[in-house]
Symmetry: C2
Subunit: 80 residues, 2 copies
């Protein structure tokens, strides 16, 4: 089955990359952008078709590798 994991910075954590994008968009003449925060997305193909075991494997993957849980939140979407 397919799943998607979205990793974003926690609120309050400084995002210099997002700030740089804001500045670049302003100088490129794209108006109306108030703020940008960048995160990561992982499109995962799982061997199992079972929702619960897929979520368990993805939670383990996030905790161990994909997200730094000190400064990042992660969200798992199965069945995308």
């Amino acid at each position: 089955m397919k799943a998607r994991v979205i990793v974003t910075l926690k609120t309050g954590v400084l995002d210099p990359q997002g700030k740089a994008i804001e500045g670049a968009l302003a100088s490129l003449g794209v108006d109306g952008i108030a703020s940008v925060r960048q995160g990561k997305v992982f499109d995962v193909e799982l061997a199992t078709a079972d929702n619960a075991s897929a979520e368990a494997a993805l939670k383990q993957a996030c905790e161990k590798l994909l997200a730094n849980t000190v400064i990042e939140n992660y969200r798992i979407e199965t069945g995308v």
Copy 2:
């Protein structure tokens, strides 16, 4: 208003970062992961409350800066 932009590699484009994550997950003992592809996510705060003009601004931002449309697809989700 808030919006989210998801930028992913097009099918067929090699993703060495995703391959490295697959290998790392296998050596960390996370089972059941068949493949991983990494992308980027941008959480954008827009000055406008109008859906159409927000989408127009985000499309412009993607074409000009956020996505390399030769190798990447982008998807705009408004009202997240």
